[in-house]
């Protein structure tokens, strides 16, 4: 609630700003000159083909990956100058699931997100417990709270990770393909949670996705990367042009009109511009 009031008061002041971000790995640029500015409470979708640098950008925004050049500002302050705990109160992260077991129950796992608020020797206070309970409620994970994480399905595990990210009560939530590999039901559930998070908590979202329709449905702004550079920045409406989409992905697209007031559905049906590169899983520095 407090976050919502804050965002209402501060209007369109940028909460997250990237200036000239550049990263190199083994002499090859992974990101070059990436810049954007995101107002409080808005949702930004980051699109782009595999290996375009989307996940790297997210990791740079979180300062998990060191920047080669440029800087990230949160609420106008350089992120590099913040201590890890201060940073964690501003930015929360939902990574791509790596399929590794987490040896804790859902509640224990979610409670661990309160690290940034708990001092040395301190246990969870009332405030912390409330944040954990609220995160479990919002994600529908309250009935699962005593279950070991290892017994959850993929969709439930993603919801638990979402609960953990929410319990961190950060002002910006950065998500790396939150609905990849999820069935339609769990995907819709995640979208529902995201809109609740925006509506009730006023959280700003940054979302990496491969799904153009998801970007259009969830985001207010879209940033598209190709080979580490920004090739499109604008509104979802401007994105929905076959030529724009082709310039991002190098493949033809069709737009299927839907009901009035609804954005058209994007399907890729064209022939690729050039022989397709071997498919690569987006992972680590390459993505």
């Amino acid at each position: 609630m407090e976050a919502a009031q804050r965002s209402a008061a501060s209007g369109a002041e940028p909460i997250l700003e990237a200036r000239g971000l550049g990263v190199e790995a083994e002499g090859r640029p992974i990101l070059a000159g990436v810049a954007f500015s995101l107002p409080v409470g808005e949702a930004l979708a980051i699109l782009g083909p595999n290996g375009a640098g989307k996940s790297t950008l997210l990791r740079c925004l979180l300062q998990i990956q060191p920047l080669g050049s440029g800087e990230v500002l949160v609420e106008g302050r350089p992120l590099a100058g913040l201590r890890p705990r201060e940073r964690a109160r501003l930015l929360a992260y939902l990574p791509q699931l790596d399929g590794r077991g987490v040896p804790f129950t859902v509640r224990e796992f979610v409670a661990m997100s309160r690290y940034a608020y708990v001092e040395l020797f301190g246990g969870l206070g009332l405030e912390d417990r409330r944040a954990v309970d609220r995160a479990l409620e919002m994600t529908g994970m309250a009935p699962f709270s005593e279950r070991p994480m290892s017994t959850l399905s993929g969709g439930e595990r993603q919801q638990a990770h979402m609960a953990a990210a929410l319990a961190q009560e950060a002002r910006v939530l950065l998500l790396d393909e939150p609905t990849a590999f999820l069935d339609y039901g769990h995907r819709a559930r995640i979208h529902e949670i995201l809109s609740a998070v925006r509506g009730e908590l006023g959280t700003t979202l940054v979302l990496v996705t491969h799904d153009v329709n998801e970007a259009v449905a969830v985001a207010d702004r879209v940033l598209a990367l190709r080979a580490g550079r920004v090739v499109f920045a604008g509104s979802p409406g401007d994105l929905l042009e076959p030529e724009v989409l082709r310039s991002i992905y190098g493949v033809g697209f069709s737009l299927v009109p839907r009901g009035p007031g609804e954005p058209p559905l994007v399907t890729s049906g064209g022939r690729p511009d050039r022989p397709e590169e071997p498919a690569r899983e987006p992972s680590g520095a390459a993505s």
Binding site: A25, R89, Y93, R100, G101, P148
Partner: protein
């Protein structure tokens, strides 16, 4: 889920932390109090109050009490180090031995003996100093070899660790081979690993290093929990990952070096005790840390006392007993609690 079994979740039933730790504390106190009475010759209770013959007094106070104390400290230090490495590398096979830390420490100590020099600053004996340098060298080598590529894959770390371990062990044998007769025997004897200490000097030689290591590791329970989730997630939750890891490497190397310098390499404790404790208590390091400290100490004291009692007056090397006792028990626990 991959990693579920070793991380101690599948069993479900955990011992409640408070009762479990209270029970372990009582067990530890009992072990420390009764341990010195167990051995090749039986001693009357009267030795406590100055009774018994002079020889019995000597055996009790100059041999057995220091032996029990050193065994407890060594067991605690190795178990906590193993637990820490397993969390940092998120791998059940990461231990002071598989990562080359113990071999590095052993090599450092052997080089010290070989050189025959006598240096050391007050509170830090030369042999521990060299063992520490060896341990740090090995762990830096392992981390350096695998960190050059981003990601630090655990398989890569373990392979590098095993390679470094073999390399150090071979170098150690080489040093032993070229050493003078007297030094050579000293190195050989010490390499077999044992707790044949006399007097209290060895106790104070191990104590500060294990205590420093234990202090830091026990304080970083929440951080270790988050490191289990992976570096990225830990960092995003607010952990200063690099600093915490470097600190943990430093204190675990110091603890292992302190133990190895006095006792030689004693295997199995650092791997098995954390696993057993995890199966019983769960993976929360704020509980697991104290549990490893207590059970590692108890386990090594029991093994050492048994080693001295089974075929008196001969004393079986303690490493033989740790593996003979611990192996089957570990398999039993794994089958009973882990695999269904």
């Amino acid at each position: 889920m991959r990693g579920g079994v070793w991380m101690g979740v599948s069993g479900g039933r955990r011992i409640p932390a408070g009762w479990g730790l209270a029970g372990l504390s009582i067990l530890a106190l009992a072990t420390l109090a009764l341990g010195p009475f167990v051995g090749g010759t039986s001693l009357p209770l009267g030795v406590l109050s100055g009774g018994g013959t002079e020889a019995e007094q000597m055996i009790f106070w100059k041999l057995r009490v220091p032996q029990v104390l050193v065994a407890f400290l060594a067991g605690s230090g190795l178990a906590l180090s193993g637990m820490t490495f397993q969390a940092i590398f998120r791998n059940p096979l990461a231990t002071p031995f598989t990562l080359g830390v113990a071999s590095g420490a052993a090599l450092g100590a052997a080089i010290y003996v070989y050189s025959g020099v006598d240096l050391g600053i007050p509170g830090l004996p030369g042999i521990t100093l060299f063992a520490f340098a060896g341990a740090l060298g090995a762990v830096s080598l392992v981390v350096g070899l695998t960190a050059s590529r981003r990601g630090l894959s655990t398989a890569g770390v373990l392979l590098a660790g095993v390679a470094v371990s073999f390399f150090c062990s071979s170098l150690l044998m080489f040093v032993q081979y070229i050493s003078k007769m007297g030094h050579s025997i000293k190195i050989l004897h010490w390499m077999m690993g044992g707790l044949n200490v006399f007097g209290y000097e060895p106790v104070f030689q191990v104590l500060p290093f294990v205590m420093a290591g234990a202090g830091v590791i026990l304080l970083l329970g929440a951080e270790l929990n988050l490191l289990l989730l992976g570096d990225d997630l830990a960092a995003s939750r607010g952990v200063a990952v690099r600093r915490v890891k470097l600190g943990l490497f430093a204190v675990t190397s110091l603890a292992v070096a302190g133990v190895v310098a006095v006792c030689g390499p004693i295997g199995f404790v650092g791997m098995m005790v954390p696993h057993v404790a995890r199966l019983l208590f769960g993976a929360d390091h704020r509980v697991l840390g104290p549990a490893c400290l207590l059970s590692g100490g108890v386990f090594l004291v029991l093994c050492d006392r048994l080693a001295r009692s089974v075929v008196p007056p001969a004393e079986v090397p303690v490493g033989v007993i740790t593996a003979l006792l611990g192996g089957p028990f570990f398999l039993w626990l794994l089958l009973r609690r882990g695999l269904h």
